[in-house]
Symmetry: C2
Subunit: 236 residues, 2 copies
Amino acid sequence: AIAAAVAARFSPGPLAGKRVLLTAGPTREFLDPVRFISNPSTGKMGMALAQAARELGASVTVVLGPVGSVDRSGLEVVDVVTAEEMAREVLGRVAEADVFIATAAVSDWRPELRAAQKVKKGSVDGPETLRLVRTPDVLAEASRKVSGQTRRPVLVGFAAETERVLEHAREKLERKGLDVIVANDVTAPGAGFGTDTNRVTVLTRTGAPRELQGSKDAVARGILELLPVERRPSAG
Amino acid sequence: AIAAAVAARFSPGPLAGKRVLLTAGPTREFLDPVRFISNPSTGKMGMALAQAARELGASVTVVLGPVGSVDRSGLEVVDVVTAEEMAREVLGRVAEADVFIATAAVSDWRPELRAAQKVKKGSVDGPETLRLVRTPDVLAEASRKVSGQTRRPVLVGFAAETERVLEHAREKLERKGLDVIVANDVTAPGAGFGTDTNRVTVLTRTGAPRELQGSKDAVARGILELLPVERRPSAG
């Protein structure tokens, strides 16, 4: 890591001078002080992309949901817990970024109410219903925010799917106004949450889908090599 | 750890020959393949107790919910994900244990239905309701299971509370038929989820409450020293 840091400092690297903003990890949406809705994201793929971007010369900021210990060396890391916190931190930074890569597995819903005290088991009989409301769509809001800029960041999304993977990913690329989407079938062996390897398909607005597989580090480098790194003239 | 293992092997230790069964970590209750209800337990307090019991000479089995990397050396570890899996593994082992210590933060509710595929955001408009049903109460079921035994294991529970901590803990001790309960206020500074320190109150059926604080390792040793280690004549 020291050698990589020195290399990044003294050789320009293809991303030298670029500001990369990333989201990584899950979010947690609390029902009460001790219970939440979340997902199994460990942030590994996002942190692999962050470190790969840094090694290519970029200055990297990661807005990071709650994960175990990860390698933060050489990165600016902003820790958040909920989707709303993640949205706020991203929206305050995305306009200045050259590349925005949304790898976080943001909870789509949160409990409508968060109880101030732990709900006691005995206080509810039979089935309980939990009312859920939508959380901010961090990537779609970031895309909307920069769509009017003369030069806007390259926008990269991830689609973790369990069925009709490419179809869902292509739809998400269009709907959220992205330049690139990285699709993966989280149910495939050697892919998805908590694994050290990944197998993804990179889709752009034009051009054929490209498949990448291997360690998350190798897949991260492969994804960065496929990105257009100049800020885009706005479509709007 | 090697020195401790050697010491445990060649000197009897106060728990030599005792079988300690422990639960640790959170459980996850899935809504669909990628979303679950859980809590912030990292399993640290439970794993500290497991290692402390091993160092005192016990043979230790941990039924462990999903946590990051933990020190499993010298322990039998049974990995589980859901409350139902944890209940099954505990109920199959508790009758043979000399001590059962339930440190896991078991989810009290699970979604009534688990969707086979990831639920798409666009497929639901407005607030969504999630129907929750109760999960098995692992500790209460284990207590019931052994209550008819001539000699039953010493039963130790944990109460993670956010208010009226001792009152809630005392009520849980009685209701679940425990010998000992370890109460902690998870909202107190230096206590609770994810911290390396803890501050707890140990309550028994008789005798004054005892307070312990310090590193989770030190608190673990303190708790074990307060336990009656002979199997109990059944109250039933």
